[in-house]
């Protein structure tokens, strides 16, 4: 099988497996004071310091979570709750419309408690329009609880102007949360800029079920999971030592040579995009080669259904992603493409190709060999079926 879906989850790195299995044999709870507990705690704190050094943040701003979704929920709800308690007039949340559901759904849920949600405009490439944020910051002066904009989008790979956003929000005394799940690993990220940021280990070659919330504490945040007092009382629950050390090992490897990795991903991605455009001339590339994530290509195929294409590629041994999936597994219209002003029915079915550390040019070549026939077949099978919610 050729795996080109690394944005969903990448292959685990052997160093992470080794670190994980070594730590899995340890007895004891890292919160205990005896020798077994101390041994576990030592590993956790070593991992925290190593990760902090790699990410360019201070160790005491790192909080271990069960993954990116928990970190996003914790940051969004914890910050909004604390900010409203400080000042009940803060009843507005500003969010980009292209966020992952891990951010969007908790924020949209705040409407029930009387909050106003403002969604930022994005341009055709999926980039947030900073001028709109400026307007909203003025319009809602004194009322904003949080601004949430992801670092890089998971569907089309659009990288967001986080530095600019933070520099606008800071003088207005408004905290920024950034979901950095897809972005971490790219060179030159200043993760200490936003008040909170979320990341996930398995997107980097670490284990699944572990992630990080980075909290700078420039603005307060309520605890998300209470009980036990771990992680400074922010996130209760026994620490998962093997996952944490596995994650640290993966991150260390990712940050060993970020420029070389970036160049490799770009080269594979560009070769993939050029090959697709060669064999399917009317394919439309929605991801931005210069300002997007290096390893991600989002491409629409006019006259095809995305899930038919995926079925055919899967049968031909190539694994890619289609749109976003609802709980029953049926493909729904993408809220990201909608926000970008792309008419999905007109654009045709879209696929997300994402390369990762374990890919080679040979993988891309296999895709390019099987794609033309898959597209031709999917076109034959195309029927205009409604794609509304299910």
């Amino acid at each position: 099988m050729v795996y080109l879906d690394h944005a969903a989850s990448t292959t685990i790195r052997p160093v992470a497996v080794q670190a994980w299995t070594d730590a899995a044999m340890l007895t004891g709870n890292p919160s205990s004071s005896h020798a077994a507990g101390r041994k576990g705690r030592r590993l956790v704190e070593d991992a925290r310091e190593s990760i902090a050094a790699n990410l360019g943040v201070k160790p005491d701003t790192i909080f271990f979570t069960s993954g990116g979704t928990e970190a996003d929920n914790a940051a969004v709800l914890g910050t909004v709750n604390a900010r409203r308690r400080e000042d009940p007039r803060r009843d507005v949340v500003i969010v980009s419309p292209i966020e992952h559901k891990a951010v969007l759904e908790p924020i949209e849920g705040l409407v029930a408690s009387g909050m106003t949600i403002e969604k930022l405009r994005v341009d055709r490439s999926g980039r947030v329009q900073v001028a709109h944020l400026k307007e909203l910051l003025t319009q809602y002066r004194g009322r904003i609880a949080l601004v949430a904009v992801m670092w890089a989008n998971n569907e089309v790979g659009a990288v967001q102007p986080i530095e600019e956003i933070v520099s606008l929000c800071r003088p207005a005394r408004v905290p920024v949360h950034s979901d950095a799940v897809q972005a971490v690993g790219s060179p030159g990220l200043s993760l200490a800029l936003p008040n909170t940021a979320a990341m996930s280990a398995h997107k980097l070659g670490g284990p699944k079920g572990v992630g990080i919330l980075i909290h700078q504490n420039r603005y307060p945040m309520d605890p998300f999971i209470r009980g036990g007092g771990q992680e400074n009382g922010i996130r209760g629950g026994t620490l998962d030592v093997p996952c944490i050390v596995g994650m640290a090992a993966a991150i260390k490897e990712v940050f060993a040579e970020p420029e070389a990795t970036d160049a490799k991903y770009r080269q594979l991605r560009n070769s993939l995009v050029a090959g697709v455009q060669d064999s399917v001339p009317d394919a439309v590339v929605n991801s931005d080669a210069d300002a997007g994530l290096p390893g991600l290509a989002h491409i629409s195929f006019p006259g095809c259904e995305g899930d038919a294409l995926m079925l055919l590629l899967d049968s031909a041994g190539v694994e890619v992603s289609v749109g976003s999936a609802c709980s029953s597994g049926a493909t729904k219209t993408s809220h990201v493409l909608q926000a970008m002003g792309i008419d999905e029915e007109a654009a045709g079915g879209s696929l997300r190709f994402s390369v990762g550390w374990s890919n080679t040019q040979e993988d891309v070549d296999v895709l390019l060999r099987v794609l033309p026939e898959a597209v031709a077949r999917a076109r034959q099978a195309y029927v205009r079926t409604p794609v509304e919610g299910s």
Binding site: D307, L311, S328, G329, Q380, A381, V383, T385, E388, S390
Partner: protein
């Protein structure tokens, strides 16, 4: 062969899927998302439309070890099955939504798409025996007559039946359950489906009332011609129905009354004694003939609703456009819109839609 298995989340399609894999086919499983309003679909009882059904279907595919996809056909389903169901009732007819679904969704939209994608056949968990003979497909009742679904498949016709496989039709349901258990399929003990999947509470009259609103009219006694009650919509009735008829006075004979006729334009429901429901002639149109139409005078068995006993009948006329039968056995309550299936012993030889 490359085979697409439609898996509902129930036990029958799960075993059908597993048997298709055992037979050496290259199988991909697909679950059809039929209803856009998943919260409103019935949990537990039906086995095809709920979120847990999608989960069960996926689990079966995983256990058998084949790729699994969900195809969203909610739009087609609403248009071709649900809206059709409502408008047929509104016109005083009695539709069978499962037949419509087989005709327009499962073995049309899905079969066509599967063919275009390069699949040779569609496999389902229907109880019927299908033999691909040199002269064409032969559709027979399933070995388990109590579960037989040839009645709802007869509408398909040869072109579609040529691309179908029904691998559980040769086995008793109890054995299918045992086989599912043996294969480690967790749906082995899931209850059978009976009700209409898009009517969550099983209240068909209530569903139609919400869709069509109140349309009150008289209930007329056939014998006396007198109005003996009122109803809130003819769509709440089907010919042969006995329960739920609100009349002011009992019949002079003291015997129960049945719905004899429905007149949607004047909104009249006619009721009377059971004998008046006896059917001596059946007329049907839009026939589907797997072979040549039967010759006038030929004796056949006729079935007019799912799980009804077949009764003997004699063909009066039969051609490409319609057929007419003399009913030789005892048959009660026939409503326009019902599907009428002709059998030669166990073999399906024709199908049509009952006309007035």
């Amino acid at each position: 062969m490359r085979v697409l298995a439609a898996v509902s989340g129930g036990v029958d399609s799960a075993v059908a899927l597993a048997r298709a894999v055992d037979a050496g086919h290259d199988v991909v499983a697909v679950h059809l998302a039929l209803n856009s309003d998943r919260a409103a679909t019935r949990e537990g009882s039906r086995g095809c439309c709920t979120l847990s059904d999608a989960h069960d279907a996926r689990r079966a595919a995983d256990v058998v070890g084949v790729p699994f996809y969900v195809w969203n056909v909610a739009g087609d389903f609403r248009e071709r099955v649900i809206d059709d169901f409502v408008s047929e009732y509104e016109a005083g007819r009695t539709p069978n939504p499962c037949i419509r679904c087989n005709e327009h969704i499962k073995f049309a939209a899905v079969l066509d798409k599967a063919t275009a994608l390069g699949f040779d056949a569609v496999v389902t968990g229907h109880y019927a025996q299908l033999h691909q003979s040199a002269t064409g497909p032969i559709l027979r009742r399933s070995v388990d007559n109590a579960k037989d679904q040839s009645y709802v498949l007869a509408v398909l016709g040869n072109d579609r039946l040529r691309k179908c496989m029904f691998p559980v039709g040769d086995t008793d349901k109890t054995e299918i359950r045992a086989e599912a258990k043996e294969r480690g399929l967790t749906v082995a003990a899931k209850p059978d489906s009976h009700d209409i999947c898009f009517i969550p509470d099983g209240d068909t009259a209530g569903f139609l009332a919400r869709r069509l609103g109140e349309q009150p009219g008289p209930i007329i006694d056939e014998a006396s011609g007198a109005q003996i009650g009122e109803h809130s919509g003819t769509y709440g009735f089907t010919i042969g129905q006995r329960k739920g008829i609100a009349v002011d006075q009992p019949a002079p004979s003291g015997r129960p009354r049945y719905v004899l006729g429905i007149e949607p334009v004047s909104r009249t429901v006619v009721v009377g004694e059971r004998e008046r429901l006896a059917v001596s002639t059946i007329r049907a149109d839009q026939p589907v003939w797997p072979g040549n139409p039967p010759a006038p005078g030929q004796e056949v068995l006729v079935q007019v609703r799912a799980h009804a006993e077949p009764v003997p009948a004699r063909v009066e006329t039969a051609d490409r456009f319609a057929f007419e039968l003399d009913v030789l056995g005892e048959l009660f309550a026939l409503a326009p819109g019902q599907s009428c299936v002709l059998y030669d012993a166990e073999r399906v030889i024709g199908q049509g839609t009952v006309t007035p």
